[in-house]
């Protein structure tokens, strides 16, 4: 960067010396350290016309940034604008529900407990009724409760059978008594 600035200064000085004969205004490069006025590096351009010295401003590229922001805006608005228009249409022409007392003898459907028409639609066509959900939860609990009970009973049965020995479990295979060789015990002094 320092070399670049030296090169630019040299180019500016050369340009200034070339136009020193006809141009009265000397090229004044703003110092790089205090370049608060113009962004980027500035090199003066020859063929200055009526409104002052034209400057060729050298900056870092903003191509990728603008491309990214344009694409971001495009893809957000691609679905965002239709969705916003749809929601505006629903809010203006269909409107929210009004609160009313439940009439006598009438049982409202489960989607009629929501206010906004889109919530009602989602509850009606996409979600399960809360009664079904409740029953599903209770069914899960029931299955798990029965499993837990069976496991407890099995443990208790096993404990009792091991303790009392009168059940079908905890039978260990022993060798047949006819296979036992009792010849060692036939004489007392061995």
């Amino acid at each position: 960067m320092a070399a670049m600035s030296l090169l630019l200064r040299a180019a500016a000085a050369w340009g200034a010396r070339r136009t020193a004969g006809d141009a009265v205004v000397r090229a004044r490069l703003p110092a790089l350290a205090g370049a608060a006025r113009l962004p980027g590096t500035v090199a003066p351009v020859r063929h200055s016309s009526s409104h002052g010295k034209r400057m060729f401003i050298i900056k870092a590229t903003r191509f990728y940034d603008t491309r990214f922001l344009n694409l971001l805006r495009f893809y957000i608005f691609l679905t965002g604008i239709p969705v916003a228009l749809f929601i505006t249409y629903v809010n203006i022409f269909i409107g929210e529900a009004e609160l009313a007392e439940i009439p006598e003898g009438y049982i409202p459907d489960y989607w009629e407990y929501y206010k906004h028409p889109i919530s009602r639609w989602i509850a009606r066509y996409l979600c399960d009724p809360p009664e079904k959900d409740y029953e599903k939860q209770m069914a899960l609990l029931d299955v798990e409760a029965k499993k837990a009970e069976l496991r407890m009973m099995e443990l208790e049965a096993r404990r009792l059978m091991r303790h009392r020995g009168d059940g079908p479990w905890y039978h260990y295979e022993t060798p047949d008594k006819n296979l036992v060789d009792n010849s060692m015990k036939s004489t007392p002094d061995n």
Partner: protein, 175 residues
């Protein structure tokens, strides 16, 4: 969150501003600003709003507040009956939400009373203050300090301890 259905608590007595006699010939700028506001802002907004309401009145539909059936309480459940526990727990949670809303409504009533009375609040709002104190004490007795993992069971245990303390205090008082 919920709307208080008792509007009597929020009624403000009618103001008794006297009709002013005009003493100068300079027109009142307030009326000028009022008419400008009416023509520039109020009329178009009202027109648009009424047009929207005409569109929405073509197909009206209603929503209701759900009424839940009462199920047996946790104290009426047999031991090991997990389904009964589940239903009692759900009922207890709904009841706790309702109690929270009740406390909130009574708090709002006190706020409205203070706003209405202004400097007379200490005398004229005494009933609301008393009611709020009773309600918050009751709420604290029942649901306070059971913690973030508090459920119907811990609340029932808290009630049991409260009843034991009460009985002990009665026994001590009768000695």
């Amino acid at each position: 969150m919920s709307k208080d259905s008792d509007w009597e608590a929020y009624k403000v007595p009618p103001t008794r501003t006297p009709v002013s006699e005009r003493a100068t010939s300079v027109p009142n700028p307030a009326t000028l600003i009022e008419t400008v506001f009416n023509y520039v802002v109020d009329a178009p907004v009202t027109f648009v709003r009424e047009w929207i309401e005409r569109q929405q009145a073509k197909n009206k539909f209603y929503y209701y507040h759900q009424k839940f059936r009462r199920v047996p309480d946790l104290s009426e459940c047999l031991e090991g009956d997990y389904l009964c526990f589940f239903e009692a727990e759900a009922q207890w949670r709904r009841d706790r939400l309702v109690d929270m809303e009740i406390v909130e409504i009574i708090r709002e009533r006190l706020g409205a009373c203070k706003q209405r009375e202004g400097p007379n609040e200490f005398q004229n709002c005494a009933k609301e203050v008393e009611l709020l104190m009773q309600v918050t004490k009751a709420y604290q007795d029942r649901y306070g300090d059971i913690g973030v993992h508090g459920n119907a069971r811990t609340c029932l245990m808290k009630q049991k301890h409260r009843m034991m303390e009460e009985r002990k205090a009665q026994a001590n008082a009768s000695e």
